[in-house]
């Protein structure tokens, strides 16, 4: 049987999500799939569009890859808009030709509404919807000083923040008497206004713009109906969105009175071969301007195309939880109390800037809606009450009162019914999570993979973790953080015990807080903690037996029992004289020599007893240990930077050397890698490092928590345009927090992903000092920096320590007989017979 053709118009968030569902379903076998996208780029995460201004690229925001489309045999036609649908002939037309379909999906999203104001076509007037819009805004902002957003709704405020981040004086002009009129009431709106003005964005409410004309103090002037005016260099319209239903209208599909392609519960339009999903679709007279309902439609439609008759779209919750310009805002359900008989309870703390309102049903039993401004910590609990129609307690006000005033603690995961929706992006209920756990998922990570929960907007991550932990505990699965059988503590707990009680040896720690004699898990962990806390030499009698062999002998053991030697080459910069010394030493001991991936030189094949002699020579030539063996700073990779490179804007080599010398020797839960690039071309690949630094015209951009290796992860932009001092202070804090709180063998990437609150939390602690521990972290780092010693130098100078480096203590001359050698490409390498 020849395949039918399925055409999707629109490669946006919902269209892409639909394809993900559809290609994984049985019906995919029966269809050839063709997708048209008007934009040049592959579907990207529009929800996080604003991150494009804070360093994310299209690739970071992309929802999939071109390879994914190829692998799934989807024909992707980008930059090709459909201009006509021929329903009779079942084909669509683009400027490149006609394409026949059997089933057609409209996922054309919406477009920004631009009110018919005179002068709105001016080249410095924009909308805020696509990457191209943002490119244009950025270009216009370059030589502007101020910008205005028309529209004080959710997107308008986000756009205002973007203008601010581009260095403009930002204004918001709103027609209604308050900000976010759709979601907030008067009190909430005025508190939000107050907070936003404190951040330096000027808010003008009750203003109707009548015309945009040439400006006097700036490029443009806006005239208002009250005869006032405002001069500005650019304008962004954010006055609402309209469903993109042009094609559907033209081919005679049923359209709603105020726009939108009418669909039934099966996401099918008035033509049964044409379906519509996402923001272009009108269901039950409603348009859904959020991504989660669109995803639900996408899933429903995929099932419908698989002939699943029970698949129905039954509406979606429009509650929202946001941080706008750093201010928490939440709106749930019937926030304005429009239901008959609805009553409100309000809590307003002007001092703290917190406003909370609950809308309760007439009988006082159900929560119908809520508004939160300034603090979203009650959001999850309130949302669960509203969505799952949980009966309210007798004194419902306790739900929004601070705990000090008798407020109730958050709703425990146990209290939620099986049907409670935990992740609305991926429509995962508590029941689904329990199901995944019963089917064998035994931790948060596997539940995420299995159910996709918390892999959309991420808003549900804290709740998800609570549910998973509580369900695992219920099933008797130990959610144990114990590092091993000897200590009933996590690494973080142990760190705390060592630090607070001033414990300096493993023996003391295990006798007071553990049992038995320790093992290869807890000993190196404790060694690393002791090193961070007290920074004593790792070869003191107490510490030697705690270390992995690589730390004990300060070299990496190779498969035949010999070792490799990696001297530090800070920033990858090395003098010819030093290079010659490396060559000479390697020649003398017949060491296999290789340039590493970390911009330094590795010498392989030294026997245990040769190590001290070799290091003596290297130290005499000015080398230091490179800690290639330690869970500590490895290298700070650099590019050549502005000293030589025509594009460089800062001295990246100098900064790399500085950082390497500062953090060398710091003991950590896992190894740490850094890099510094001299400009955005990023030749040092800083965005794949734990700490990545990229030079800007004004200083340095800092990226954190990247990883190469087994599970690569791009680093996240953490702070921009830092001064030298600012950069170092920030890195001090991030690293110290990592060292103190990460689990054993946890790289910064995994650590950050597991931090409750993730990157935002890390930013709060480090950049805003929300825990008030910034100074302490810096002081601790300063202490470690000041007590640095080259371990190899100390070791070769101490005869007692050198004694450790005897292969056979009773036969100093004996050569280990299993170490057999051969020559390959002019160098010596091991032959190892398998035992």
């Amino acid at each position: 049987m020849s395949k039918k053709t399925l055409i999707v118009i629109g490669n946006g968030m919902v269209g892409h999500h639909f394809l993900e569902q559809f290609v994984a379903s049985p019906a995919a076998e029966d269809f050839r799939v063709v997708v048209f996208g008007e934009e040049k780029q592959l579907a990207y995460d529009r929800v996080h569009l604003s991150e494009y201004f804070s360093g994310s690229s299209h690739a970071d925001l992309a929802m999939g890859t071109a390879d994914w489309y190829t692998e799934n045999r989807i024909e992707l036609r980008l930059n090709e808009a459909v201009t006509r649908i021929d329903r009779e002939g079942r084909k669509v037309t683009t400027d490149r030709g006609d394409y026949a379909y059997d089933e057609l999906v409209l996922a054309t999203g919406s477009y920004p509404f631009v009110p018919p104001i005179e002068g709105r076509e001016h080249p410095h007037c924009f909308v805020y919807r696509t990457l191209e819009d943002l490119d244009a805004i950025r270009a216009s902002a370059r030589d502007g000083k101020s910008g205005v957003v028309i529209g004080g709704g959710l997107l308008g405020l986000e756009a205002a923040n973007a203008l601010k981040s581009l260095g403009l004086q930002a204004h918001v002009v709103e027609f209604a008497p308050r900000l976010m009129p759709v979601q907030l009431d008067a009190e909430g709106g005025s508190l939000l206004r107050h907070k936003i003005e404190e951040l330096g964005v000027q808010v003008h409410t009750d203003k109707a713009t009548t015309a945009i004309v040439e400006g006097q103090d700036a490029r443009l002037r806006m005239n208002f109906s009250d005869d006032s005016h405002l001069d500005t260099d650019l304008i962004v319209f954010s006055a609402g969105i309209r469903p993109q239903d042009t094609l559907a209208r033209a081919c005679g599909l049923e359209i709603g009175e105020r726009g939108g392609i009418v669909i039934d519960d099966h996401c099918t339009t008035s033509d049964r071969h044409i379906h519509a999903i996402g923001e272009c679709a009108l269901w039950d007279q409603r348009i859904f301007g959020l991504v989660a309902p669109g995803y639900t439609m996408a899933r429903t439609l995929s099932s419908v195309l698989n002939n699943d008759e029970e698949a129905v779209f039954t509406g979606a919750d429009m509650s929202t939880k946001l941080k706008l310009l750093g201010v928490d805002v939440g709106a749930i359900g019937d926030a304005h109390g429009q239901a008959p008989g609805a009553r409100s309870i309000r809590f307003n703390d002007e001092q703290a800037g917190h406003y909370r309102r609950m809308v309760i049903s007439e009988d006082g039993k159900r929560l119908l809606g809520a508004i939160l401004v300034g603090d979203n910590s009650h959001y999850d609990t309130l949302l669960q009450y509203a969505l799952n129609e949980i009966t309210l307690p007798g004194n419902p006000e306790t739900l929004i009162l601070p705990e000090s005033q008798g407020g109730a603690p958050a709703l425990g995961p146990d209290a939620l019914p099986e049907t409670a929706s935990i992740c609305s992006c991926h429509n995962v209920t508590k029941g689904d999570i329990c199901g995944a756990i019963d089917a064998g998922c035994s931790d948060l990570a596997s539940v995420k993979v299995e159910t996709k929960a918390s892999t959309g907007c991420g808003g549900c991550s804290a709740l998800l973790k609570n549910v998973v932990d509580s369900e695992l505990e219920k099933r008797g699965v130990e959610v144990s953080k114990d590092i091993c059988e000897h200590f009933p503590y996590s690494r973080q707990d142990l760190f705390h015990l060592v630090k607070v009680n001033g414990i300096r040896t493993f023996r003391t720690l295990i006798s007071q807080y553990g049992k038995g004699h320790g093992c290869d898990i807890c000993k190196p962990t404790v060694a690393s903690i002791l090193a961070t806390c007290w920074n004593e030499h790792i070869l003191t009698t107490d510490h030697v037996p705690l270390q992995d062999t690589n730390d004990t002998f300060m070299a990496n053991m190779q498969k035949n029992g010999t070792y490799s030697i990696v001297p530090r080459v800070p920033g990858g910069e090395i003098t010819p004289d030093k290079l010659i010394v490396l060559g000479e030493v390697a020649r003398e001991y017949d060491l296999y020599t290789k340039i590493t991936g970390g911009q330094r030189v590795d010498l392989f094949g030294a026997t245990l007893s040769q190590l001290p002699e070799i290091w003596e020579k290297l130290i005499a030539a000015g080398f230091e240990t490179g800690h290639a063996y330690g869970k500590s700073l490895r290298t700070v990779k650099s590019c050549v930077g502005n000293t030589w490179c025509r594009y460089g804007v800062q001295d990246s080599v100098g900064m790399a050397i500085f950082l390497e010398n500062r953090y060398k020797g710091l003991r950590a839960p896992h190894k740490i890698k850094m890099a510094v690039s001299g400009c955005t071309r990023e030749c040092a690949e800083a965005q794949s490092k734990d700490i990545g630094v990229i030079a800007t015209e004004n200083g340095w951009n800092l990226y954190v928590c990247g990883n190469g290796g087994m599970r690569p992860r791009h680093a996240d932009l953490f702070a921009t345009d830092l001064s030298d001092d600012g950069l170092i202070r920030t890195i001090d804090r991030v690293l110290m927090l990592y060292v103190r709180t990460a689990d054993r063998l946890q790289r910064t990437s995994v650590w950050m992903e597991n931090l409750e609150g993730g990157l935002d939390y890390l930013k709060e602690v480090v950049l805003e000092d929300s825990l008030g521990m910034g100074a302490e972290l810096e002081a601790h780092m300063a202490d470690i920096v000041s007590t640095y010693q080259c371990e190899w130098k100390t070791a070769v100078e101490d005869p007692e320590k050198r004694k450790r480096f005897r292969e056979f203590v009773n036969e100093p001359e004996k050569k280990d007989p299993v170490q057999q050698w051969t020559v390959e490409r002019d160098q010596r390498r091991p032959v190892l017979e398998s035992a």
Binding site: E485, G516, G518, N560, F808, V818
Partner: protein, 122 residues
Amino acid sequence: MKAPTRWDAVCTVDDLVPESGIAVWTEDGPVAVFYLPHRLPALFAISHHDPISGANVLARGITGDLKGEPVVASPLYKQHFSLRTGRCLEDESVQVKRYPVLLDGGRVRLEVPCEQRQTSAA
């Protein structure tokens, strides 16, 4: 009949490293001697040869106990070997030789097998 053995002095107490191992060369090949001062007995000796990697490295592993059994973890692929029996905890079928060991004055002696003629020479 038990094969002939002899007690060789292989090193002194000063050569030992508390809570860790050292390697000595014997006629029976390389042997790892561990000194665990907080246990009774405090001395253990097993082959230095790691059967999994084929390299002579066991003395350089981390010592400890698992469910009460004194062990060393191979520094290469991290399997645990019992210091009392030489058995590999992860794989029952793998076993390294163990050697009786004792402290004689300041000297550490190992009981190693020897050839007939050497017994008479001793």
